[in-house]
């Protein structure tokens, strides 16, 4: 058993761009929950962190959009955005190319995943890593699911990737942690930016924590867009990680709408080895 921890977190750029505008109590709670997750990952003895994210046209574009992709590089640059704007340090983050190779080799038996030697992390990874691996010493393997450019990856395919990831991770000797970043309602970079559908978020996070597969896979593209905004497509990342540990019930560490971050911020544990 080499999956040692799995969970979800949030990645809204506001978390690092404009923290001073958030309610200080909520901000302190969010920071404490990130820290709790960081500690749990470290306590589990994780040697590598696999981050399942939805990037925002930083590396993957409509010229050849992968349904799934995994990094295979020695190292990754972060962030692709202006670091003075995102207010996270410009860093080179170690990868784990040998482990990437082995996991990808195993995944390819059942999942058509592309792989990439070049990958610049955007805020989808750079914001959570700023809290989860503040020293930037933990090797990271990025995974991307197309949550942005329709036709999006079907939800059941994201679930299937999670299952395959678990199998591949359990077949390697390294201790691996698996984190998804995102999925709650938000309307990023549109006139509706700032809107939050709290009731919808509550239902989604509850389904994720309890790994209610049938309900999770029943979301429809257009209705999800109306209820949760374009940003809700990122639920694919968390559905994937929930699938990787379907057998356990998770725990919510933080769940609060933070309007200035334009979304409900969530930190949750899905699995603890």
């Amino acid at each position: 058993m080499s999956l040692v921890y799995a969970g979800m977190c949030c990645h809204a750029p506001g978390i690092t761009v404009r923290p001073e505008q958030a309610d200080p109590e909520l901000l302190a709670g969010l920071h404490a929950a990130f820290d709790q997750q960081r500690q749990a990952i470290e306590d589990a003895g994780a040697e590598v962190l696999v981050m399942v994210s939805s990037e925002h046209f930083a590396n993957f574009f409509m010229d050849n959009m992968p349904t799934f992709s995994m990094g295979i590089a020695d190292e990754y640059e972060s962030p692709i955005e202006n670091p003075d704007w995102l207010k996270v340090p410009k860093v080179t983050i170690p990868g784990s190319p040998d482990l990437s190779q082995r996991i990808i080799g195993q995944l390819l038996e059942t999942v058509d995943i592309s792989w990439a030697q070049e990958w610049k992390f955007d805020h989808g990874l750079a914001v959570p890593l700023n809290f989860l691996t503040p020293e930037y010493k933990m090797p990271i393997i990025p995974v991307n699911i197309n949550c942005q450019a329709p036709p999006l990856t079907p939800l059941h395919r994201a679930w299937a990737l999670g299952k395959a990831l678990r199998q591949a991770i359990d077949a390697v000797p390294e201790k691996v942690a698996l984190i998804s970043t995102g999925g709650t309602s938000h309307w990023p970079c549109t006139p509706e930016s700032g809107k939050i559908n709290l009731e919808w978020d509550k239902v989604l996070v509850d389904q994720l924590i309890h790994k209610r597969k049938d309900e999770l896979l029943d979301y429809k593209f257009q209705q999800t867009f109306i209820d949760g905004g374009a940003g809700a497509g990122e639920m694919r990342t968390s559905i994937c990680v929930a699938a990787a540990c379907e057998e356990t019930v998770g725990e919510v560490l933080f769940f609060e709408p933070i309007p200035v971050f334009a979304t409900t911020c969530v930190i949750a544990t899905f699995f603890q080895g």
């Binding site: 610049k120 549109t190 006139p191």
Partner: protein, 103 residues
């Protein structure tokens, strides 16, 4: 279809510091590399962020283009609203599905 090249330009500007430098020095020169309609070319040159939104450019890309011109966030949100008032509902892409697109 061709809003594709509008977005391709924005994607490339985000990733390629040399192209970005060239764009800052001579915008028209860089724009001439892309297959653009007259309306797209005008919207990119001005820049008319509201019109680009109405044409169907994804906000996750458009926001970075607005940032190149140091457009503050509040103004970015305002010019999208103005674009909808002036040019009508979003014409292509994801946001065609928005409930607000019909008003």
């Amino acid at each position: 279809m061709s809003v594709y090249y509008v977005q391709k330009l924005m994607y490339n500007l985000n990733r390629d510091p040399d192209l970005r430098e060239r764009f800052d020095k001579d915008r028209e020169d860089v724009l001439s590399l892309y297959k653009l309609t007259d309306e797209e070319l005008e919207a990119l040159t001005k820049p008319d962020i509201g019109l680009l939104y109405v044409m169907g450019v994804n906000g996750q890309i458009l926001m970075h283009y607005a940032a190149i011109f140091n457009m503050p966030w509040a103004e970015y949100l305002r010019v999208m609203e103005e674009g909808l008032e002036k040019h009508g509902p979003v014409r292509s892409g994801l946001y065609v599905m928005s409930e607000s697109n019909e008003k």
